[in-house]
Symmetry: C2
DNA sequence: ATAATTTATTGATTTCGATTAATAAGAAGC
DNA sequence: GCTTCTTATTAATCGAAATCAATAAATTAT
């Protein structure tokens, strides 16, 4: 929980008193690997801070899983569009590995927003960070070849993610077929 | 300017007093068609509310323009990543038609954020709206065929945008070659 | 109005990565 | 341990859209 505190101090200059408010609202949860936390069609009512573990979001396209996001230790994750719009989720949130998370509900966030503008700022910064992340991804998706996407992926993403996320999930995240990723990797290991 | 006032009342329940604060900070600007407002490499120091007109953002890829966003009357536009991160812009902002905009500088936004949490909320809502917009776009880019993208475009976007944005700019926005868009349109007009 | 430039159309060809299919390698379960 | 299921590799074929090339149509400038 201290990790989250540190991050919040960094991000919004949280005071001890403010931490005490937020601390009470956090809900610690443990999940085994491959647990589904948010299902498609349901509204994401929490945002999760990852104490430890590895999670992803994905959606189904013609029965196939398309991964949209990976996150591990000390990051936030949820079905963010569903969370902010409080409409039913198009995607699933699931653990890849055993994970420990702290959840904050949407209702709590709304309360916090009312309590202090600092929390509103937290909401803004989260949204902005997510925006920057997805806009970068969009651009890369549009301009890079399969090989370039993979090279970019391995050097921009957390080592833990690169090493522990199954290859076919990375492929779907990059918008390429698993067979294509396999070929790209083969090509790269030769040269 | 009244249009903006209405939108802000709607969005963040702006009071008359708050409007008076913000009103003073707005800068009215007129641009002729094809004026560049933000250049690649420069930091976007304003966000623009469009009173009237049509604008787009785009970037260059191998010398070719890739449009990333179109906006017209009563919408906000800027090089948003650059604006929120205050880092140099990867894209250009330019008018497609003669336009009248009201600009608010980054410094002003920061001031406003300090004045009242309501402005911080405005910042959050803008970021969230932009997030939702780009995440939807990303998904469509990844799952739809050229034809589906175009059909989706013409029925989700403002008529003004569909009718007045040059076809090759729409093509680049959809991530397809102008020749392909031409063929898609031909096919659609036959059936 | 006419020339120059930009934008759109059409056809031929190529290409990157998808799909299909089969096998191999790993991991999980009994 | 062996079986089953999942994941990854490899090869052959296919296809949607890109590219290349030429022309036509529409704007813009002179």
């Amino acid at each position: 929980m201290d990790k989250l505190k540190k991050i919040l101090i960094d991000l919004i200059q949280l005071t001890e008193e403010e931490w005490d408010i937020i601390k009470e609202k956090l809900n610690r949860q443990e999940y085994t690997a491959k647990s589904t936390i948010i299902k498609e069609g349901r509204i994401a009512d929490c945002i999760y801070f990852i104490e430890k573990g590895l999670l992803r979001t994905y959606y189904l396209r013609d029965g196939k899983e398309i991964s949209t996001y990976f996150a591990c230790d000390e990051q936030f994750i949820t079905s963010y569009s569903s969370f902010i719009s409080q409409t039913s989720s198009l995607e699933y949130l699931e653990t890849i590995e055993n994970s420990i998370v702290y959840s904050i509900s949407f209702a709590t966030m709304m309360e916090l927003y009312k309590i202090a503008s600092k929390f509103e700022k937290l909401g803004r910064l989260l949204a902005e960070k997510n925006y920057l992340c997805v806009i970068e991804r969009t651009r890369k998706m549009q301009t890079l070849t399969a090989k370039q996407k993979y090279l970019d992926f391995i050097d921009s993403y957390n080592k833990k993610i690169v090493q522990r996320v199954p290859q076919h999930q990375i492929a779907s995240y990059l918008g390429i077929a698993p067979e294509s990723l396999s070929r790209v990797r083969k090509e790269l290991s030769i040269s």
